[in-house]
């Protein structure tokens, strides 16, 4: 079994799905000859010269035409080069892709997977670092998926491409090449809508996704040294959310720290906090604590200040444990 980075695993998933299903089409800026600016589509143009397209620089055009392809029975996998550049396509995503099934009573559907790198950690400043998943989680009709390991990136991307609805597949670029993992050749499927327990623990639940899941694991290791057993829940799919997994963990530990790198206000973790307050308050032994980015644009030089790290998570653990 080859050890792959997340970039290679994504490439592998795309290649295998394109081999398996000739309706799968890849389009976007620089995805062809250049293989994508992060190389996720490397070599696909050579193998599938009629199904991989370098497009003009127009995100609304990329997503709008991908919707058209999906309406006509193809399975487009458009790439938006950075999530920070998705906004010209926002109307197409939230007004069109998300609502097509509903507004046509299921007569028309949009089985499309939008792949886009997101999140901080590469010194990209305002426009190559943002985590804007909340806008999309707030739009009924879209599924939102965030992998955090190479193997699961393959499994989740494969499941997304096969899903009958539009999926936002958000790739934490900080994890693109940060580690390798054995990734089986051939079919790997991780069903959408299932969270994973990354590390079991009885004292406090750390709930996160993407790069922050890894930060939580680091924090859990540090907490263990102080005798606190933290459980790490990696959501993997934000919509539809695996609510039972989140509730089961918090009902067990009685404490919750929710971690996301987006700005705090109205971030996806606010939804988690609300669910816990509604459905598990009688189990809570302390306040739900959020560790997040600040309510500022994403900075360049002060990136390390902005991004939550394991020390900030650890401080939050201390706070709930001391309550």
């Amino acid at each position: 079994m080859p050890a792959m980075t997340m970039v290679q695993a994504i490439n592998n998933a795309l290649r295998e799905e394109m081999r398996r299903d000739d309706r799968v089409i890849v389009l976007g800026e620089d995805v062809g000859r250049n293989g994508g600016v992060f190389r996720c589509t490397e070599g696909l143009l050579d193998e599938f010269p009629d199904r991989v397209f370098d497009t003009p620089l127009a995100e609304g055009g990329i997503i709008g035409t991908a919707i058209g392809m999906a309406l006509y029975g193809l399975r487009p996998v458009p790439e938006i080069q950075f999530m920070d550049f998705i906004y010209p396509a926002f109307d197409q995503i939230v007004s069109e892709a998300a609502k097509m099934r509903y507004r046509s009573g299921g007569q028309f559907t949009v089985p499309m997977t939008i792949r886009t790198p997101f999140g901080g950690g590469i010194r990209g400043g305002h426009y190559h670092s943002q985590s804007s998943e909340a806008y999309f989680c707030h739009t009924p009709g879209l599924k939102v998926v965030v992998p955090s390991t190479p193997k699961e990136a393959k499994g989740l991307l494969t499941a997304s491409i096969r899903d009958p609805d539009p999926v936002m597949f958000l790739e934490p670029k900080k994890l693109y090449r940060s580690s390798r993992e054995e990734v089986p050749e051939g079919e790997v499927l991780v069903p959408l809508g299932e969270a994973a327990v990354r590390r079991p623990g009885k004292d406090v639940s750390l709930i996160a996704y993407g790069y922050m899941a890894q930060v939580c694991l680091e924090a859990a290791t540090k907490a263990a040294a102080k005798g606190v057993e933290a459980e790490v829940i990696d959501l993997r799919t934000l919509v539809p959310l695996d609510e039972p997994a989140v509730l089961a963990s918090v009902k067990k530990t009685g404490r919750a720290v929710v971690v996301y790198e987006a700005p705090r206000t109205a971030g996806f973790g606010a939804e988690i906090s609300a669910i816990l307050a509604e459905k598990a308050i009688e189990y809570l032994r302390g306040p739900i604590v959020r560790v997040t980015g600040f309510d500022t644009p994403f900075p360049y030089a002060l990136e390390d200040v902005y991004l939550p790290n394991s020390d900030r998570v650890l401080a939050a653990i201390d706070k709930v444990m001391a309550f």
Binding site: D30, V37, A58, Y87, F294
Partner: protein, 357 residues
């Protein structure tokens, strides 16, 4: 290779029917601006490789199309950049040290290291703040120009953008508004043949970019972007017409991105060196130098002195900029709003408070 307005002939003489008639002083100033941008680019690429700045996007090959256009504008005119036009900021008087502090992202950067390298801003020179999303600046330029008209002020706006940017919805909206409201906007499209790895032929099926302008109801002209006099002339003419109330013009400067898209890019993956060599032979700086020499305004001695002078200026700017400390953590929280709201103040205070556990 280029079917477009050009003025400097192979022997260095200027076509007398089109020669804008620069004084020696202005002609040399234009040369200095181009040389500064070129030398700066090479020094910054080296600095990036040494890890002293995090990123850089050079304008190699586009010096005439950037500096020639910027020099054709009056100080009250505004310049709205894409991101490949530091040469225009320097024409507007941005101090080199300030530019270096931006590239490093330190405490003396006027925007406190908030933006990635190459995202300059220089209000004093009416040079707008740069953002990464391609094309967003083009409607701003139309709005600024529209405001100039609404206020009855006879100025114009020069907006830079690339061939890739002409595919954006914002380009369409901006061109359409400019045509409808006859705003004093000069659209300067730097057609450097590439948008990262995508060649202009895949960007549009139009034979030229300039030909898009008539569809919006105004003129589009194609100029040889490797010819600084041609760019200067076309931009100056368009700006004059704009100031006089004759509306917008689009200029397509046909040029070439001789270097990588940025320090993160490897062009050997997608283009042939032979194509680059063809364009390198048309280097805008060498071409303009022939013009200066033909006019009797330049020689090897002056060249050597200029190179030395610019090299020293850059070295000094680097040294001074590298002495500045990183930005203060408080600056993360300022300028989000005019007045810091309570929730942000709380976040700042909690972060800055000593870490009691």
């Amino acid at each position: 290779m280029v079917d477009a307005l050009h003025i400097i002939r192979d022997d260095g003489s200027a076509d007398p029917r089109l020669d804008p008639g620069l004084s020696e002083e202005d002609a040399v100033r234009l040369y200095r601006g181009m040389s500064l941008q070129r030398i700066l680019d090479n020094r910054m690429l080296a600095l990036q490789r040494q890890g002293r700045i995090g990123f850089y996007g050079p304008s190699l090959g586009q010096e005439a199309a950037i500096v020639g256009a910027a020099m054709a504008m009056e100080p009250e005119d505004w310049i709205v950049p894409q991101y490949r036009e530091p040469g225009a900021a320097l024409v507007r008087g941005m101090p080199l040290k300030e530019l270096l502090c931006q590239l490093i992202g330190n405490a003396e950067d006027p925007v406190h290291g908030r933006q990635m390298p190459c995202h300059y801003v220089y209000r004093k020179g009416n040079y707008l703040s740069i953002s990464s999303p391609v094309g967003t600046q083009i409607p701003h330029a139309v709005g600024i120009a529209w405001a100039m008209r609404l206020r009855g002020e006879p100025h114009a706006v020069l907006v830079f953008f690339g061939d890739g940017a002409t595919s954006t919805a914002d380009f369409h909206a901006a061109m359409n508004f400019a045509g409808v409201f006859r705003t004093p906007t000069v659209f300067l499209c730097n057609n450097n043949q590439w948008a990262i790895s995508v060649p202009v032929a895949k960007q549009t099926a139009s034979a030229t970019l300039a030909q898009k302008a008539p569809a919006y109801g105004f003129d589009g002209v194609r100029v040889d972007g490797m010819d600084a006099l041609a760019v200067f002339r076309a931009t100056g003419d368009a700006a004059r017409r704009a100031r006089e109330g004759h509306g917008p013009t689009m200029i397509e400067a046909v040029t070439y991105r001789l270097g990588p898209h940025s320090s993160s890019d490897d062009p050997s993956r997608y283009r042939d060196e032979s194509e680059v060599a063809l364009w390198r032979a048309r280097d805008p700086i060498a071409r303009y130098r022939r013009y200066l020499e033909h006019a009797g305004w330049w020689d090897d001695g002056r060249e050597a002195r200029l190179e030395q002078e610019i090299g020293d200026e850059i070295t000094r700017a680097i040294q001074e900029a590298e002495r500045a400390p990183p930005p203060a953590v408080e600056t993360l929280f300022t300028d989000v709003y005019a007045d810091m709201p309570d929730h942000l103040r709380d976040q700042r205070d909690a972060f800055l408070a000593p870490r009691g556990r």
